[in-house]
């Protein structure tokens, strides 16, 4: 065991059996196993020393530079395009318009409704009307300026509720309603009749940009054999391949997609590599030369997907003691110009239906009704962004729970204790949660660590001048592992070599979340070798089995299971061989830390590599392939009843803020977040996810917003699109709780997206607790908090 590779800084890990609230800190057991240890990320040194090559660092020799001419209108017909002058510019290799697309002129993660190059009309200002490839980026820029486009502007639609009106301009031929979904449980009339208190509230959230650090880049390289190689940072190489092959009009095996190091994705690099991959490939197809498209920051903001804005209306009813009796919700979910990740993939895939399912929160409510409308508009399009429809509804359900608690004069933690999911609770979709429900464990641990009860008494002014008030807030959260479609399988290959070293092939990508560390950990554990014996092969669609996209917090759990199955095939072959060599029955053999030994007589052992070498010589299997799919999802399209996702991660966040009562400025001063992750394969990596997620949720609460005016984005770069810096984020105390998931590898379940969900409402609730005003339209920037305070003051008078 190489000690250098262990990160031994303290991480709190609590298993349910050992859950002892008086002693929160428990060092992970240090044993011979690989799983459960905070192994330093495999990419850490390369990244912190700057030695890892990202796409922008790749040699550009021989490449043409691709550029995109975008629409100047949010909604218009294209009357004519004249590319003559641009084509004549020396150094220009190609200027392409819609008719140049060799295959299907459309791409999309779910529905191919977005043109590679728009021919007849444009639907938002990020739409492509022409593509250019030139010898230099500068010439490509000049060529864009020489293209003349005549538009016939159409009336635009910017509000999902307007889009639904009968006389609204149609953005797509089939109309503006992309999806209408409903959830029906119990009897609403009876439910509200039982209520002592009924509250109705509307919450609204804006478009958000992912603001990943690394600008998008894509390289398309035509090979002599007619294959198109597409390389770039991407979360879903197989989805990119599926689109590029259709756009080029060639079979799947004529497109090869390789993921290269990725500087952040957060869901955004699920969509944009499809867009850039198709466009770069079309340019490469026509010029027969390698083409690279590297987006500038402003182009990323203009062109790529965003987090969906939503208008969320809730009517909630409860008894005096806080028991929830009825929940009625309406979601106006703004899709923007193209379908992207919004629409439903039956039974429960796509961000829209996910939002609907999650809207009532992690609470047992007997009577629930949700109507969810997904509408096209002439804005940028909504795609996947860390939480996939769930961050929005968490903003709504966690705030209304606090508003309800206030109306009933109940402590916010008590109303959650009363209604929160437990084992065997039924969700709004009627799913009975049979296992791995650690919500209350996180609530109790967090309450203790944060010292909620004391702090709840100590809110109020913090300064002599009486300008600043302290407040605390809570946010509960739940999030699925998996994507809710019938197409959610992962494949992995494990290849052991004669010296005991291992190659691991998976299609799961690394975007900073740590998969390239956690997946080899699982592989090493299962084979009984060391972490450093496993090298993970960079995802390449020619080489690795189809793994689906790296989304839905599914990688560790689904791929982890596939790796275990693959590794077991090889291990079985190795143990068989070892059994022959040691003359010990196979079921007594153990493979651990590079040795295979007799459990009853540990003196009798072989080195793993000796056995592997013998297998090689004898022609015994050294390659394993594993496939794993979660239990199949169900969801009735009429009632929204069923088991959409097979397991959920639960958490509780608590935040302390100080609000300046005269200016509305908010400072988040303290933070505790507890998560039930089933099993932390790498506790330090889980901690990293929690801290990063909280920072992201803080940005959603306090400052992030794509500012739109007449369809045009006002804050195209990171000077004006504000994301939190280290100065805005408090110390975060993460606590890991382990309530085993019996479907997960070693009991694990997903953590990737989860941590930003409860953070936003926890901070919003703390603001309300501090200042008495509530911000229901995000972000809660100083001015919005200022007006909320004024409104609250007026209400008191």
């Amino acid at each position: 065991m190489s000690k250098e590779s262990d990160d031994r800084r303290e991480v709190k890990v609590l298993t349910r059996e050992k859950l002892d609230l008086r002693q929160l800190v428990k060092a992970p057991e240090v044993g011979p196993s690989v799983v459960g240890r905070s192994i330093v990320r495999t990419d850490a040194m390369l990244k912190v020393t700057g030695r890892l090559d990202f796409g922008a660092d790749y040699l550009q020799d021989g490449f043409l530079h691709g550029k995109i001419l975008r629409s100047s209108h949010p909604h218009a017909l294209i009357k004519s395009i004249n590319t003559k002058k641009a084509k004549e510019l020396p150094g220009v290799a190609a200027v392409l318009t819609a008719e140049s697309v060799p295959g299907r002129n459309g791409f999309g993660a779910i529905i191919p409704d977005q043109p590679v190059i728009c021919g007849d009309k444009v639907r938002f200002v990020g739409d492509a009307v022409a593509l250019v490839a030139a010898e230099t980026e500068k010439i490509a820029h000049q060529a864009l300026e020489l293209i003349e486009v005549e538009y016939d502007p159409l009336p635009p639609v910017f509000d999902p509720r307007e889009a639904l009106k009968e006389d609204a301009p149609k953005i797509h031929e089939k109309g503006n309603l992309l999806s209408y979904n409903k959830l029906r449980k119990g009897d609403m009339e009876k439910g509200f009749a039982q209520a002592d208190v009924i509250l109705e509230r509307t919450y609204q959230v804006p478009f958000l940009d992912h603001a990943y650090l690394e600008p998008d880049i894509c390289m398309a390289i035509p090979k002599a054999d007619g294959t198109m190689l597409v390389e770039g940072p991407m979360q879903a190489p197989f989805t990119v391949r599926r689109n590029v092959n259709a756009v080029l009009g060639v079979p799947i095996n004529k497109v090869r997609v390789r993921q290269i190091p990725m500087g952040g994705g957060f869901g955004g690099k699920e969509d944009s590599p499809i867009d850039l991959g198709c466009r770069a490939a079309v340019l490469a197809y026509h010029t027969r030369r390698p083409v690279r498209i590297a987006l500038e920051r402003e182009e990323i903001t203009l062109q790529t997907s965003k987090r969906h804005p939503m208008i969320m209306q809730i009517k909630i009813g409860a008894k005096k003691d806080g028991t929830l009796v009825a929940f009625e919700g309406v979601i106006y979910d703004e899709q923007g110009a193209y379908a992207s990740m919004g629409p439903v993939i039956p039974p429960a895939g796509g961000s829209h239906i996910h939002a609907m399912v999650m809207m009532p929160g992690p609470y047992e409510i007997p009577n629930v009704k949700v109507d969810a409308y997904l509408c096209y508009t002439n804005h940028p399009y909504g795609g996947a962004m860390r939480g996939f429809g769930a961050p929005q509804v968490h903003v709504a359900h966690e705030q209304i729970m606090d508003e309800l608690a206030e109306a009933l004069n109940i402590n916010p933690i008590d109303i959650r204790r009363k209604n929160g999911f437990r084992e065997d609770s039924a969700t709004a979709t009627g799913q009975v949660l049979e296992q791995s429900v650690g919500l209350h464990d996180t609530l109790e641990v967090c309450t203790r660590a944060f010292d909620w009860d004391r702090r709840y008494q100590e809110t109020g002014y913090v300064d002599e001048g009486k300008t600043k008030r302290r407040g605390i807030g809570i946010g509960l959260g739940w999030y699925r592992t998996s994507i809710g479609t019938n197409n959610d399988a992962c494949g992995a290959n494990v290849y052991v070599h004669e010296d005991g070293s291992v190659l691991l092939y998976t299609g799961i990508t690394e975007m900073g979340q740590g998969s390239f560390t956690v997946l080899p950990q699982i592989c090493a554990e299962e084979l009984g070798v060391r972490m450093e014996d496993v090298r993970l092969v960079q995802p390449d669609t020619d080489v690795v089995p189809e793994s689906g996209p790296t989304v839905g917090s599914r990688s560790t759990t689904l791929m982890g299971n596939a790796i275990i199955l693959a590794a077991r095939q090889v291990k079985e072959s190795i143990l068989e061989m070892a059994s022959e060599m040691l003359m010990v029955p196979m079921d007594r053999l153990e493979s651990r830390d590079r040795r295979i030994y007799d459990r009853d007589n540990s003196g009798k052992s072989l080195e793993f590599r000796e056995v592997a070498a013998r297998c090689m010589a004898k022609g015994k299997r050294l390659i394993g392939q594993g496939w794993w799919a979660p239990p199949p999802p169900t969801l009735d399209p009429e009632t929204g009843q069923g088991n959409p996702y097979f397991v959920y991660t639960y958490s509780t966040h608590m935040a302390e803020v100080v609000v300046d009562m005269e200016t509305g400025e908010v400072e988040v001063t303290d933070y505790v977040a507890a998560f039930d992750v089933g099993k932390a394969i790498n506790p330090k990596a889980v901690e990293g996810q929690i801290e990063g997620g909280v920072a992201m949720g803080l940005g959603y609460a306090l400052m992030e917003e794509v500012a739109l005016e007449g369809g045009y984005i006002q804050n195209l770069n990171l000077k004006n699109y504000l994301i939190p810096t280290s100065l805005d984020v408090p110390d975060i105390e993460p606590i890991i709780v382990e309530v085993e998931n019996r479907f997960g590898p070693y009991g694990a379940k997903g953590i990737g997206e989860m941590p930003n969900l409860p953070a936003t409402p926890a901070i919003l609730n703390a603001i309300a607790n501090a200042c008495g005003g509530r911000v229901r339209t995000l972000p809660a920037d100083p001015e919005r908090v200022f007006w909320a305070i004024k409104e609250a003051e007026r209400a008191v008078r």
Partner: protein, 290 residues
């Protein structure tokens, strides 16, 4: 984006820099810390054909006291001023204001001269200089001249510097003992350009009477302004809470802010009041030695 193509020269003396300016005239831009110029070039807001790098002119990097003045070379880094014991003692408002510029890495490169000639109405140094009777020494082919803030700053991003002139030195009078001062600002996020900033200076006489007040407002119009009517309320008075309240209201009336997606005009105006009141209260406490 990337900047458009430019030629690059280095100068190691002021004379050398001026002769380069004479050669390229208004095609050339001086680069010192580059903390504003380089982003502007990357956005193509500025497209100089020639850059003259004056970072090698070591003779322009100094902070010293001469009689009753602090004398600062134009190439002095903001971080050095922020941490200078001399500035902290003799002109603490400048050190305080500078500490609020962007982030430490920006202040480590950014220079006082660069900030002044850039004349951004949302920048801390120009706003502070407005209240300080500072003198800017500029040098050109025909010699040197000295300008006061009112002469130096013309409007948004514009100074009275001639194309062939370079700012070489800033002279700031030492603040008398017991002078009250404060620099307060409101930002949407830490380290950002301010929405509203207020620099306040209270020159005191015996008996706790304010001889003269200076209130400089930033972010509420196209240039920094002095809230003169608010200043008059305080001059010759023992400063009470009531007077501070009144001065804040007067200052807010003087403000002429615009709305954008960061903040509405209405909010900016009210924040002018709040920050003038807070700034004056803090300045008064300092004047009392509190």
């Amino acid at each position: 984006m990337k900047p458009s193509a430019f030629e690059y020269f280095t100068a190691s003396t002021v004379a050398e820099a001026i002769s380069l300016l004479e050669r390229y005239e208004d095609e050339a831009k001086i680069i010192a810390g580059g903390q504003s110029l380089v982003p502007m070039m990357n956005f193509r807001v500025a497209q100089p054909e020639v850059l003259i790098d004056i970072n090698g002119i070591k003779e322009l990097d100094y902070i010293r006291q001469e009689d009753d003045e602090i004398v600062i070379g134009a190439l002095t880094r903001e971080r050095d001023l922020e941490l200078s014991p001399l500035v902290q003692e003799k002109c603490p408002i400048l050190a305080e204001a500078i500490s609020l510029i962007g982030h430490a890495s920006i202040r480590t490169r950014g220079t006082i001269g660069g900030s002044l000639v850039h004349a951004d109405p949302a920048a801390e140094i120009p706003l502070t200089i407005y209240g300080l009777d500072a003198k800017m020494k500029v040098v050109g082919p025909s010699g040197e001249r000295t300008l006061e803030p009112e002469e130096f700053f013309l409007s948004y991003l514009t100074t009275s510097l001639e194309p062939l002139e370079i700012l070489v030195e800033v002279r700031i009078p030492v603040l008398p003992q017991k002078t009250g001062w404060s620099f307060v600002e409101l930002t949407r996020r830490r380290g950002d350009f301010y929405i509203v900033a207020v620099a306040s200076i209270l020159f005191m006489e015996k008996g706790g009477v304010c001889k003269e007040a200076r209130i400089c407002l930033g972010g509420v119009g196209p240039t920094s302004i002095r809230a003169e009517e608010a200043e008059e309320i305080l001059a010759g008075q023992v400063i009470t809470d009531e007077l501070i309240e009144k001065a804040g209201q007067k200052a807010a009336e003087a403000a002429d802010p615009e709305s954008d997606y960061h903040a509405s005009a209405e909010y900016r105006r009210d924040m002018t009041r709040v920050f003038v009141q807070r700034g004056l209260a803090e300045a008064r406490n300092r004047a009392k030695g509190g």
